[in-house]
């Protein structure tokens, strides 16, 4: 899946997160800011990386502002932002797990 435009998903409310995505040539740059980065930073990055891998995202700039969201919320918001930023709208549900 290729990121072709800028997109946002999520909110800055507690238990949620804001995902910002922009196209970038040649590399994948992921920036994570979180209120709970000391306790859960590794887990948040794992969820983000697993989600990006499953959706075959290899290029782009992704900035995440986490406000203490559960893993399932992180996954959902990131997938929403990617789908908004990518070409095509057909969802492969097998890759959304």
């Amino acid at each position: 899946m290729k990121i072709v435009r800028e997109a946002l998903a999520g909110t800055m409310e507690s238990s949620d997160l804001m995902v910002k995505i922009a196209p970038a040539e040649g590399e994948l740059d992921v920036v994570v800011h979180s209120e709970v980065i000391k306790q859960f930073g590794d887990q948040i990055r794992k969820v983000v990386n697993d989600t990006l891998r499953a959706m075959e995202i290899r290029q782009g700039l992704i900035i995440i502002e986490d406000k203490g969201a559960l893993d399932c919320v992180i996954r959902a918001r990131l997938q929403s932002a990617i789908l908004r930023a990518a070409e095509g709208t057909e969802i492969d549900w097998g890759k959304m797990r």
Partner: protein, 291 residues
């Protein structure tokens, strides 16, 4: 024991905080809303939030319902694709006017269940009746599918269709009777409308008392504060529990003595009375005794 469905708590599908915590309130069923509570531009992300929440362990031991968007909108079918694959227990179809609406939903459910490996027929359905046409067709709708667990009356659209407004309940009188009779004729549950003024507890309790006495299984709720009030109102009194125990004991003694019919304090105890006593004891086991 039949599944208790006194309380069905609405959760806006786009609200991450509520999706992360609502299971702690223990309603009988949780209803994720993808329809009216979600803005058009948030439909896609709400669908994914609900897709993942449904699969989370925190929602595995509570009945989950999703109100999808109508199938004649661009959102209805994608909603269905997502929630069936995520293992939802019940799909609530809004604005159900005819049995054909349920047949159409069934066709899609069967196709998606087959595609994702779910057992055919395992996704249950609930029809929401929101118009005069829907009320008129309530019996046919209630009998339209083996998947139906219940039908619900939704007041906001209904009163607009009837060119009136929410009031003391007079405006819903015929619709409540029609929906309830249709549900009972089909052997499924009936759910009453939401009470939208969360701060008016007295009004809420008056309405709950009315629909409980009419025979509704429960109500849709919009705030967790209403759950305990509703469950308490549906709990039997201590007097009802005591009487039910005496009825069951008398019935058991009659059975031991080989009697088909027994009497208690000069009144005959037959199957409907015994069934009612069992239901009272089951409700007491689930909700305790009314405070």
């Amino acid at each position: 024991m039949k599944k208790l469905r006194r309380s069905m708590l609405f959760l806006p599908g786009a609200n991450a905080a509520m999706l992360s915590t609502a299971f702690i309130y223990r309603p009988d069923s949780i209803m994720f809303d993808l329809e009216d509570a979600v803005a058009l531009r948030e439909k896609d992300t709400a669908r994914l939030l609900v897709f993942h929440a449904l699969q989370h362990p925190m929602y595995q031991d509570i009945e989950t319902v999703v109100r999808i968007n109508p199938l004649n909108t661009p959102f209805g079918l994608p909603d269905l694709e997502a929630v069936v694959r995520a293992g939802v227990d019940v799909v609530r179809l809004p604005k159900t006017d005819t049995p054909e609406d349920i047949y159409e939903l069934e066709r899609h459910l069967e196709r998606i269940e087959l595609a994702c490996g779910r057992e055919i027929g395992s996704t249950r359905v609930m029809a929401a009746i929101e118009s005069a046409v829907g009320v008129i067709n309530a019996v046919a709708i209630a009998r339209s599918s083996q998947r139906l667990i219940g039908i619900a009356l939704a007041a906001f659209d209904y009163v607009m269709d009837m060119q009136t407004e929410r009031g003391d309940g007079t405006e819903l009188f015929y619709a409540r009777c029609a929906v309830l009779h249709a549900a009972r004729a089909a052997g499924i549950d009936a759910f009453d409308v939401v009470w939208s003024d969360v701060n008016d507890e007295a009004g809420f309790l008056r309405e709950v008392e009315l629909v409980r006495k009419m025979g509704f299984n429960g109500k849709s709720l919009i705030n967790p504060r209403q759950i305990d009030l509703l469950h308490n109102a549906y709990a039997p009194t201590q007097q009802e529990v005591d009487h039910a125990k005496v009825v069951i004991e008398a019935a058991e003694e009659g059975e031991r003595n080989g009697l088909g019919v027994v009497s208690l304090n000069g009144k005959m105890i037959d199957a409907p009375i015994i069934n009612h006593a069992q239901m009272v004891l089951e409700r007491a086991a689930a909700s305790g005794v009314r405070r």
